[in-house]
């Protein structure tokens, strides 16, 4: 049963900051809503919860949560999160980020943390633009889009972040739009519980600077009507319905369609588990050597 907003707000949000700073119809608020419900469902200890973000509208989210929060520098949230999680594996670290933050300036840190399989949950508000600075092109903006910095329309191919994350070895990747409330909440929950790096990409609306639609609500319909489901076994039948071939699968959206679904869910030792082993191994070695020399 979904808990009432009143009650959840009371417990999980900083009321002196509400209503949020986000524009009317901005998806970021919805993601706040979904995250609140996810952490409530999981009955998480708020004291152990650390929200980390970079810079961007989406990165303002941690401020709203009654928990620990770190609003870092543009693109670097995951580097900070790495330090936080490595030195205190008991914490639950959730990163909020935007497409500019993670797919442009911060892409490297993101992929490296996937490689290391740091046990954090990364939630990306992918509004396909730089909302905070007024709507410039981002690496996830579709080719052909007009933005403030592509006045003659975007000539760059775009990243599909979820597929890139998968290719880098992420153990859990899920991709939805903000119109998929229930699925988004489920994905966030699953991501938090997952051991290792979980990536949740949420295609979002930025009605202010992204001129796709004049009215926020038009996004809702667009998101629901234009999204198609990623088939769990896409690995083996890539070309079947969605992509012409693997290459396309990993680089672009299919003719403007939004691919949603659970992209990856697998198991692989996380960094902390391996580090724990390493510590034991090395300490044993140390004492053994010490004995030998004595």
């Amino acid at each position: 049963m979904l808990k009432p907003s009143d009650e959840l707000r009371e417990k999980y949000l900083r009321k002196d900051l509400l209503p949020s700073m986000f524009c009317p119809g901005c998806s970021i608020g919805q993601i706040m809503n979904y995250t609140v419900r996810a952490i409530d469902d999981l009955e998480m200890d708020q004291d152990k919860l650390v929200f980390v973000s970079g810079i961007g509208c989406s990165s303002r989210l941690p401020a709203y949560f009654e928990a620990y929060g770190v609003h870092t520098t543009h693109g670097r949230a995951i580097a900070f999160a790495t330090g936080i999680k490595v030195t205190n594996p008991d914490l639950q670290v959730i990163v909020f980020t935007g497409d500019g933050d993670i797919a442009a300036i911060g892409l490297n840190h993101f992929l490296q943390s996937i490689r290391r399989n740091i046990d954090i949950t990364v939630i990306c508000v992918n509004n396909e633009t730089y909302g905070m600075t007024g709507g410039q092109v981002s690496p996830t903006s579709p080719m052909g889009f007009k933005t403030k910095t592509t006045p003659y329309s975007n000539i760059e191919h775009s990243f599909n972040l979820s597929f890139l994350a998968k290719a880098a070895g992420a153990v859990y990747v899920s991709r939805w739009t903000t119109a998929h409330s229930v699925q988004a909440i489920k994905a966030i929950k699953k991501g938090i519980k997952k051991k290792g790096l979980a990536f949740i990409e949420l295609i979002s609306a930025c009605p202010t600077s992204d001129r796709r639609f004049p009215e926020p609500k038009d996004y809702l319909n667009y998101f629901l009507n234009e999204s198609i489901r990623y088939k769990p076994h896409c690995e083996d039948e890539l070309s079947s319905h969605v992509f012409k071939n693997l290459n396309e699968c990993f680089t672009a959206q299919d003719e403007g369609k939004l691919i949603v679904g659970e992209i990856t869910d697998l198991d692989k030792p996380d960094y902390h588990e391996l580090y724990k082993e390493l510590k034991e191994r090395s300490i044993n070695e140390f004492w053994k050597k010490r004995e030998n020399t004595d």
């Binding site: 700073m21 524009c23 909302g131 600075t133 007024g134 202010t208 600077s209």
Partner: protein, 184 residues
């Protein structure tokens, strides 16, 4: 400006209101008009963080001097207030002789009487199109009252500053504002 000799030849104007009414645009249009009149103009603005923010302020100095001052005003010659919040906040920046032009649709509580001119700009704007052109109605009234720039120049500036398809309605809005007050 308070500074000696420049005082006579410079006029300071503050536009203030909330987002969505074209507060800043109106000051830019005014500045352009001043340029067409071969005057100098310096305009600054401030609003909230990055994208959003409700309270908006735009200051402009119109000057006959080659080296106009910079608009950091303690007191302004003219205050144009679009909303109650803005009025309340900025009325303290007027002096005795200041001209006050207020949007009476949104400003109900006013303390100062002297030199105050009320115009129901939002109603006029909504009547013509939407509150988005409140600014041009206000501008019309301002020009009529202050004569700070020429009618031709301000009309030219309006035409150049608004989307083509909205030129006519903006000109109409200007005229409504301009004709709101009788010649004084």
């Amino acid at each position: 400006m308070n500074s000696g000799k420049k005082e006579k030849t410079q006029t300071s104007i503050r536009f203030s209101g909330v987002g969505g009414m074209g507060v800043i645009l109106s000051s830019i249009i005014l500045g352009k008009a001043a340029i067409y009149d071969n005057k100098n103009a310096v305009q600054t603005q401030s609003y909230g963080a990055e994208q959003r923010g409700s309270k908006v302020k735009s200051d402009i100095l119109i000057s006959d001097l080659d080296d106009p001052s910079y608009p950091v005003f303690d007191k302004v010659d003219i205050l144009v207030a679009f909303s109650q919040e803005a009025y309340d906040y900025y009325v303290t920046s007027t002096k005795k002789k200041s001209l006050l032009l207020i949007n009476s649709d949104l400003i109900e509580k006013t303390s100062i009487k002297r030199n105050r001119f009320n115009i129901s700009a939002t109603s006029i704007a909504e009547e013509l199109l939407s509150k988005k052109i409140t600014n041009v109605v206000m501008l019309g009234a301002l020009i009529k009252l202050s004569k700070i720039v020429s009618r031709e120049s301000i009309l030219k500036a309006i035409v150049e500053s608004v989307p083509k398809s909205y030129v006519d309605v903006n000109v109409k809005a200007f005229e409504r504002g301009y004709d709101f007050f009788q010649d004084n």
